[in-house]
Subunit: 657 residues, 2 copies
C-alpha cells in the first residue's frame, strides 16, 4: 500500500484556468484570487483529497486544499491568492484518502446495524497507528491521542465512529495519510500575474511635437509635461507617445504622406533614426533624454504610465543601416529594399530582415532597446505591427524583459487575421488592439464582445479598445461627428476595461481623406497645435466617463459583461457586476447618432443582485439623473439634445436587499 | 536563409481530429479517409505550404499536401487515407514557400507596371538556380529547364511571370524549396484505426446455458451453435455471451439472488471459478473448450463475432484464491473480504485487490486471460465494471493487446459519472455503454445525442446503445410492453451505429421485481428456455430494422445525426445522411407507446440533399409503404394498430437532382 504506483490511478483533468491545455500562460492580476478548478477522480468509491500546488515568483512551493463542489462531475475548486506581480506555476494534485473512505464505509455498516464490525474497526485503528508512528510534532501527538481514544471505544462502534468521523480526525488523517497514488496534472501551468493596469486603464495617445501653440515651434517633453495635469484630471492613466526617436531625413514624407518633404516638414516619427541616433535616442527637437526622464517622473507623480511606441523599422539614416547593413533586405542589385506593398511605397522606411543570418545580434539589439527604455522608467510598450515579425521573437523578448521587470506591459498593435492576433496574445502580449473600430451595429458589437468576454478567451487575450488612432478615423465618426464621438467613447470605455483615444478625439476632429479611414492633414506628417478648450469639446464628458470607470469596480472587468434585452435594434444595453466589492453598472447606448431612439429594457434582477420584484435606484453618471427602475424599463436617449447613453450605477444600498 | 531556426516561426495549431490536444488517441475506422485540418500561418505576407506527415502501422513516414481552404482564418485541409487496422501517428507541418511568395510579389509589381523589376527577377532566378544545383533526377532536370526559360525571358517581365507562376513551376519549386523554418504540431497525434465493426454492429446478448428446451438440461455451446443461423438471419453481427467460465459453489446464489442455492441451481455466471478452473476455463456444463472453439468458428463462418464478458472477480472457489491469496482483500481478522456495498452483500464474489503489492503479477495474469481467449478466436471483450479497476491498468491492457492483435475490440460496461466514462474511452476502450436506457423523452434524447454526436466527443467515445441488459429492464418496457419494445429498438438501432439487445427482448419479456429495474426470475440465477417463435415476437420487426441498418450507409455513422423539427413533444424525428455513397434515412418515432400521435415534420432540403421545393420519395423499411414528401410533412404514428416509427429511406434517385 505504501509503494508508489508507476501507473495512472488518479485522473486530474480539465484544469482551469488554462490556455490550450497548459501550452501558454494564463493572464491574471496580482492582488486578486484566481479560481482554480479541475476534475479529480479515481476508480471505485474511495474518497479523495485534492490540492492546488503552486509557487509564486521567487517563492517556495505551497499547497492549498480544494473542495469537491460538484460530486456528480467530480469538480473540485480552490482560490489561489496571487499576491505578487510575476509568473506563478501551479498544478492540481489528488490522491486517495483511505482514512476518509474507511470512515464512510464504517458509517454505512453502522447504519445497516451490521453485528460484527470488529475487523473493520481494526483496519481503521491500524491506519491511525501507522500515522502516529511516523508523524512528529503536534500532528504526531494528535494521532497518538486519536489512536488511544479509538482503542478505548473499540467495542462501541457508534461512539467510535463519532470520534473517527469528526472533522478534526478526518483533517488530521488527511494531512498524515500516505500519498502513494498521487496523480497531478501535466504540464505544470503558468499564470502571469500582471499589475492591475494590465487589465484596466484609460489611454491617451499624443504626439509630443504637437504639444505647442505654434506649429513652427515643435512641442517638447517640457511642453508635454504641462499637458499631464489636464490629462490626469480627465481621468487618463496612460499617456502613450507616438515615436520620440530621431526622424530620418532621406526620403522624408511631407504633409499627407507626400513624397518629398519641404524644409520645415517634420516627417513621420515612424521613420526612425538619423545622425542624432536610433531607437535609443530622442529626436533633438523634442528635448533631451533628461527632459524625457523628467516627463516620465512627472507622469509617475500623477500615477500615470508613459507608454512608448516600439516600431521595429528604420529610416535610411538610422545608424544600424551603416553598422549592420546585413540586418536589412538587400536587393539583387545591392541596394537596400524600402518598405513596400505594391503599388504602395514607403521610401522613408527600411524594414528589418528577421531572416538575416545575423538574427541573433538583431534580437539582442532590440532587447537592448527595450531594456534601455525600461531603465528610463518606461513600463508600457505599444508594439507596432508585431504580426510582421517572427512570433518566436516576441515570445523571447517579452519573457526576457518580464523576468527582469515583471511590471512591464506590452500592447500588440496587430490588425490582422484572428488567429495571429490570438497567437500574439498567447505568446506574451499583455494587451491587444482589436476590431472594435469596425464593430458598429448591435449585432456586430454583441457578437464580438461575446467572443472577447468568454472566460476561455479572456484567459489570454485582453482587449484595448481604441476609439480612434492616427491611422483609423472610422466612417461613423467622419459622418456623424459629436454624438458619434460620445457614443463610441461610452462603448469603448464601458465594454472594455482598457480603452484609449488618440488626441483630437476630445475635439471631435473628423476631417478625413475622402473615401478613406485616414485623417486629412494627418498628424503623422505635421505638427498640429490645438485649442484644447475649443467649443464643443468632450473634456467634461470624458472626465465623467473615466470617473465612472474608476469608481465602479464592475467596469474593471471584462468577463462579467452581460447583454440585456432591449426591443430596439438601434439601442444596445448591457450590465457589468462584481459581487465583492458590490458594484453593478447598467449601460444603454443609442447607436443611432442622428435621432432619439427608445425602447423597453429588461433587467433580470439576478443580473444586478437585487431582489425580484423590488424597485431599485440608478444614478446616471453622465447627467446626475436618478431613476427608480424595475425589471422592465422605458428608456429614451436623444443624441442631439441630450446624451446618447446612460451609464447607470445601481445604488449599492438596493443590492442584495 | 538556409539555416534552421531554433525559434517558432510557423504556427501550427488547432489540429483536428485530436483529443485533449493530442493527449489521447483519436478513434477512426480503417478503410475510410480521416479529414485532418489545422491552422497554419506565419508573420507577414509570405506564402506557406503545409502537409500532413504520417505513418500507418509498420509503414514508413509519408506526407500528403494540405490545401488552404479558408484563408481568413488560416485553415488548411487534407484527407488522410487510413488503409490498415492499427495505430497511425501524424502531425501537421508547414513552412514558408519563398518561391510562391516571390511569384505573388512579382505579380503585384507587374500589375502595377513598375518600370524596373530586374532586381526582383534576379531574386527569383537565383532561387531556381539554387534548386537546380541541389536537386537530382527529374525534378533537378525540370529546375534546370525552368531556370533556362526564365533566363531567356529576363527582359520580358510579363512573359517571365507567366512561366514562373505556372502550376508546374510553383509545384516544382514547392517540392524543391528549403524548409528552413518548418514548424510542426507537437505532440505527435495518434489515430486508432479500428475495423468497421468497432463503430457499426448489432449485438445480441445471451446465456449459453439457456439455449435449451429443458431447464433441467443446461444449454451447451453445441446448442448455442444451432441458434446462430437464426440470429444471423435477424441481422445480428455480434453474439455476446454472459460469462462462460466455471461457476463457484461456495455461497452460490439461488433464484432471484437468494442466499443459498438449491442443489439444481446453476448460480451466477459472474461468480467465476471452481475446481474446474478460472478465467481460462469453460464451465463443464456448457461443454468443452473444443466446443467453444467450434462455436466461434461457426459464428465466424456467418461473419459474426463472439464477444466474451471480461469480469475481473472470483468466486471463493477460484484457483487464484488458493494460489494468490495476496491478490484479494484480506480483512484484519485474516479472512478474505467478499464484495459488498453495505447493506448489499455479494458473498459469492471476491473482488480482486489492485492495491496488492503483487499487482504486477495480477496484471500479467489478467493479460494472459485476454491473450488466451484472443488465441481462441475471440476479438471482442465486453468488460464488466471497468470503472472499479485502476484506469492505468486499462491503458496498459488494451494497448498491449491491440499491439498484438489490432482487431480486438473492448466495450466498457461502465455505468458511472460522465468523467470516468469518458476517461475510459480516452484510454483505449473501443466502445462504451451509455445512459441510453434512462433517456426516454424527446428533450432527454435530443440533449444526450447532441452531446454524443458532437465530433469532439465522437473522436474518442463510441456509444453502444443496449435497449436492455440482464441488469436493466427499464420502466418504460415494464409498463408499456410491445409498442415500447419496438420504439426503443428503433431508437437504439438508428441513433447509434452500435446497439444491442439482451435475449428475451424479441419476446417482449418484461416481468420485473416490483419497484426495481431488475428482471423477475433473472436469468442471472436460472436457466431460461424460451420459445423463440412465441406469438407477439419481434423477430420480423428486428430483421427489418437490422436490414435497414445494413443497407443504408447513413446509419453506419453517428456524427451525421441531425434532429428535425416536429410540432409534437411526443414525437422525435431525425435524419442521417452520407454524401458518398449517397444515403439518407429519416426516422420518426412516436415516443408515446399508448396511443397515436401526429404532427408536422420539417425536412430542410439540404439535410437530405434534395433540391429545394422538389418532392422526393421515401420508403418505409418497416412497412414497405412509399410516400411522396416535401419540406413539411404530416406524420401520424399509431403504436397500437400500426408501427410506432417510420424508418424512411430517401429514394437516392431524388438526391442531388
Amino acid at each position: 500500500m505504501n509503494e508508489k504506483r508507476p501507473y495512472e490511478q488518479i485522473v486530474v483533468e480539465a484544469v482551469t484556468p488554462s490556455v490550450d491545455g497548459g501550452r501558454f500562460p494564463v493572464k491574471a492580476v496580482a492582488g486578486e484570487a484566481c479560481v482554480v478548478e479541475a476534475r479529480v477522480y479515481r476508480h471505485g468509491h474511495e474518497r479523495l483529497r485534492a490540492v492546488v500546488r503552486y509557487r509564486g515568483p521567487g517563492e517556495p512551493m505551497r499547497e492549498i486544499p480544494m473542495r469537491l463542489v460538484e460530486p456528480g462531475i467530480d469538480r473540485w475548486h480552490a482560490e489561489l491568492p496571487l499576491e505578487a506581480i510575476g509568473r506563478y506555476r501551479f498544478t492540481v494534485a489528488g490522491w486517495t484518502d483511505h482514512y476518509a473512505s474507511w470512515v464512510e464505509e464504517l458509517r454505512k455498516r453502522v447504519a445497516a446495524a451490521q453485528p460484527d464490525v470488529a475487523s473493520e474497526i481494526a483496519e481503521g485503528m491500524a491506519m491511525v497507528a501507522r500515522a502516529a508512528a511516523t508523524a512528529t510534532g503536534p500532528d504526531g501527538h494528535a494521532a497518538t491521542t486519536l489512536g488511544a481514544t479509538l482503542e478505548a471505544l473499540a467495542n462501541d462502534p457508534e461512539a467510535l465512529l463519532a470520534v473517527a468521523a469528526s472533522d478534526d480526525a478526518v483533517a488530521l488523517m488527511g494531512r498524515l495519510g500516505p500519498r502513494v497514488d498521487e496523480g497531478h496534472f501535466e504540464p505544470e501551468l503558468e499564470i502571469v500575474a500582471d499589475r492591475p493596469r494590465a487589465r484596466f486603464g484609460a489611454w491617451y495617445e499624443l504626439f509630443v511635437r504637437s504639444q505647442t501653440t505654434d506649429e513652427a515651434r515643435p512641442g517638447t517633453f517640457r511642453d508635454a509635461e504641462h499637458r499631464l495635469p489636464a490629462l490626469h484630471r480627465m481621468g487618463f492613466d496612460v499617456v502613450y507617445l507616438a515615436p520620440i526617436h530621431p526622424i530620418g531625413h532621406t526620403k522624408r514624407k511631407g504633409p499627407n504622406n507626400r513624397v518629398g518633404a519641404g524644409p520645415g516638414d517634420p516627417g513621420s516619427p515612424w521613420a526612425i533614426g538619423s545622425e542624432a541616433g536610433g531607437h535609443m535616442a530622442v529626436e533633438p527637437a523634442l528635448g533631451t533624454l533628461d527632459d524625457f526622464d523628467r516627463f516620465v517622473r512627472a507622469a509617475a507623480a500623477l500615477d500615470m504610465d508613459v507608454a512608448l511606441d516600439l516600431a521595429i523599422q528604420c529610416s535610411p539614416d538610422h545608424p544600424w543601416v551603416r553598422a549592420h547593413p546585413e540586418w536589412f533586405y538587400r536587393r539583387a542589385d545591392g541596394t537596400i529594399r524600402y518598405a513596400e506593398n505594391p503599388p504602395k511605397k514607403y521610401e522613408d522606411i527600411y524594414p528589418l530582415n528577421f531572416d538575416t543570418p545575423d538574427w541573433q545580434r538583431l534580437w539582442e539589439a532590440l532587447l537592448e532597446v527595450v531594456r534601455f527604455w525600461v531603465a528610463h522608467g518606461v513600463r508600457i510598450f505599444r508594439v507596432d505591427n508585431p504580426h510582421t515579425k517572427p512570433i518566436g521573437f516576441w515570445t523571447w523578448l517579452i519573457d526576457t524583459i518580464q523576468r527582469e521587470a515583471p511590471d512591464v506591459i506590452f500592447l500588440a498593435e496587430a490588425f490582422t487575421r484572428p488567429p495571429m492576433m490570438q497567437a500574439l496574445a498567447k505568446r506574451g502580449f499583455t494587451q491587444s488592439y482589436t476590431y472594435f473600430t469596425w464593430r458598429n451595429t448591435k449585432a456586430e458589437i454583441t457578437e464580438y464582445l461575446t467572443e472577447l468576454a468568454d472566460p476561455a478567451a479572456a484567459a489570454y487575450f485582453r482587449p484595448n479598445f481604441f476609439a480612434n488612432t492616427p491611422d483609423i478615423l472610422p466612417p461613423i465618426l467622419q459622418q456623424f461627428g459629436r454624438p458619434a464621438f460620445k457614443q463610441r467613447l461610452v462603448l469603448a470605455a464601458t465594454l472594455s476595461p482598457s480603452y484609449g483615444i488618440y488626441s483630437g478625439y476630445e475635439l471631435c476632429e473628423n476631417a478625413a481623406i475622402p473615401g478613406r479611414e485616414e485623417y486629412l492633414d494627418s498628424e503623422k506628417y505635421e505638427i498640429r497645435p490645438r485649442d484644447w478648450e475649443a467649443p464643443g469639446n468632450l473634456n467634461a464628458f470624458i472626465t465623467r466617463v473615466n470617473l465612472a470607470r474608476r469608481q465602479n469596480p464592475a467596469l474593471h472587468h471584462l468577463t462579467n459583461l452581460r447583454f440585456l434585452d432591449i426591443d430596439n435594434d438601434q439601442m444596445i444595453a448591457y450590465v457589468k457586476s462584481t459581487p465583492a466589492p458590490a458594484s453593478s453598472v447598467i449601460v444603454v447606448v443609442n447607436l443611432d447618432p442622428t435621432q432619439p431612439q427608445f425602447g423597453h429594457l429588461q433587467v433580470p434582477p439576478e443580473a444586478i443582485g437585487v431582489a425580484p420584484g423590488r424597485p431599485y435606484s440608478v444614478d446616471d453618471v453622465l447627467t446626475d439623473q436618478r431613476f427608480t427602475w424595475g425589471e422592465t424599463n422605458w428608456v429614451r436617449l436623444d443624441p442631439i439634445d441630450g446624451e446618447p447613453a446612460h451609464i447607470l450605477r445601481v445604488d449599492p444600498g438596493d443590492v442584495g436587499a
